[in-house]
């Protein structure tokens, strides 16, 4: 009897091992990454990419509802890295704008608008 119980436990254990689980950690990380990207700098300097990322997040929800966990996991991981990318791109766009402003200041003795902001 004990052995039977042991066997059943093993079966369920291995079934659990073989099946795809809900990638909770990846989903949670993706959600956090999206929240970090949803800031004023990204909204100003990379609005279109933020919009695309939000669309991806909706797609992630859809995949989870359809129990397509492996695809959901991949997408969640993609959202995480894309989130970092758009934050970086926004930062670069902001820096480029600042540089242009400073170059104008040097070339034309223009008022440094950045300083006033």
């Amino acid at each position: 009897m004990k052995l039977s119980f042991y066997l059943l436990f093993m079966i369920f254990f291995f079934i659990g091992c073989a099946k795809d689980d809900i990638p909770k950690r990846d989903i949670s990380n993706a959600k956090m990454a999206l929240a970090q990207s949803d800031n004023s700098i990204v909204k100003e300097y990379a609005p279109q990419k933020l919009k695309k990322l939000k669309t991806k997040y909706k797609e992630l929800d859809r995949l989870i509802n359809q129990k397509k966990y492996e695809e959901a996991k991949f997408l969640a991981q993609d959202i995480q890295i894309q989130s970092l990318l758009i934050q970086k791109e926004a930062s670069i766009n902001k820096l480029s704008k600042k540089i242009k402003n400073k170059e104008d200041v040097l070339k034309n003795n223009k008022i440094d608008l950045e300083e006033k902001e």
Binding site: D78, E89, I99
Partner: protein, 264 residues
């Protein structure tokens, strides 16, 4: 015995069937365009000195993904890892670009500060030159017997600049008037207050009239030199405020004077 066989079969089946064991160690690395381009990009990244300097963390993470990709035998997962690797490489490149731009911005800010300092230096030099001019001018004022009083800068046109007993200015006064006019031109915000005095010989009304005529004479000369009439105020004081007792000829002459104040 029966249980042992059953156990061996079940365990064996699931160990072999477990998803984590699906990929045989001997299976070669799957290949796709995504995978080969990711590997190519990673190899370039490893050689990029800028990335290694400015984005070491991102490059390290790319290395970890590359290791996972190398050991991944499942094509779908390998493709996904290749996609992540390419994104991570892009992140490393952007981080490098961000750092380089930050350096450039810092350099520009330094240049602006240097330029501002140069401009301040130039302003300071201009102020110094102006100060030197003012000092020279003040030296000129000293020659005119000018003094600084609480009321303003005071010039005195003495009795010796007028014809004896008259309000008519002598030709020698022109030099003095000219210098006062120069001073006024360099201080356009200031006005002139002319206070004229006489000695106490004669009646009070005569002395008042005498001092008024001398004050008007000076005012007329200033106007002739281009000083706006609105900048000139006259006060005839007669025999008031003698600077010395009117007991001797020299003293009376000293008391017959026109004081010109340049005031705010």
């Amino acid at each position: 015995m029966r249980f042992t066989i059953l156990l061996a079969i079940v365990v064996g089946y699931f160990v072999l069937g477990c998803s984590s064991m699906k990929n045989s160690i001997n299976k070669p690395l799957p290949n796709s365009l995504e995978i080969s381009s990711a590997i190519k990009e990673y190899k370039l990244l490893k050689r990029d000195k800028n990335i290694q300097t400015y984005a070491p963390t991102e490059a390290f993470s790319a290395g970890k993904i590359y290791s996972l990709l190398e050991s991944q035998k499942d094509l779908k997962k390998a493709n996904h890892l290749a996609h992540l690797l390419k994104s991570q490489i892009k992140l490393a490149k952007l981080t490098t670009k961000e750092k380089l731009l930050s350096d450039k911005l810092l350099e520009l800010e330094k240049r602006i500060v240097r330029k501002e300092l140069e401009e301040k230096d130039q302003e300071l030099n201009s102020i110094k030159i102006e100060q030197e001019k003012l000092i020279k001018r003040d030296e000129g004022i000293d020659n005119l017997n000018a003094t600084i009083t609480p009321k303003g800068v005071k010039f005195i046109i003495g009795d010796n600049f007028f014809e004896k007993g008259s309000s008519k200015l002598l030709i020698t006064s022109i030099r003095v008037i000219d210098k006062i006019v120069d001073f006024l031109k360099s201080h356009p915000d200031k006005i002139v207050l002319i206070e004229s005095y006489s000695d106490n010989s004669g009646s009070t009304s005569y002395n008042l009239d005498f001092s008024l005529r001398r004050a008007n004479s000076v005012a007329k000369m200033l106007k002739a030199q281009g000083v706006d009439k609105n900048r000139i105020k006259i006060e005839a004081k007669g025999e008031q405020n003698p600077i010395v007792p009117n007991d001797r000829i020299e003293n009376r002459s000293a008391n017959r004077r026109v004081e010109i104040y340049v005031v705010d």
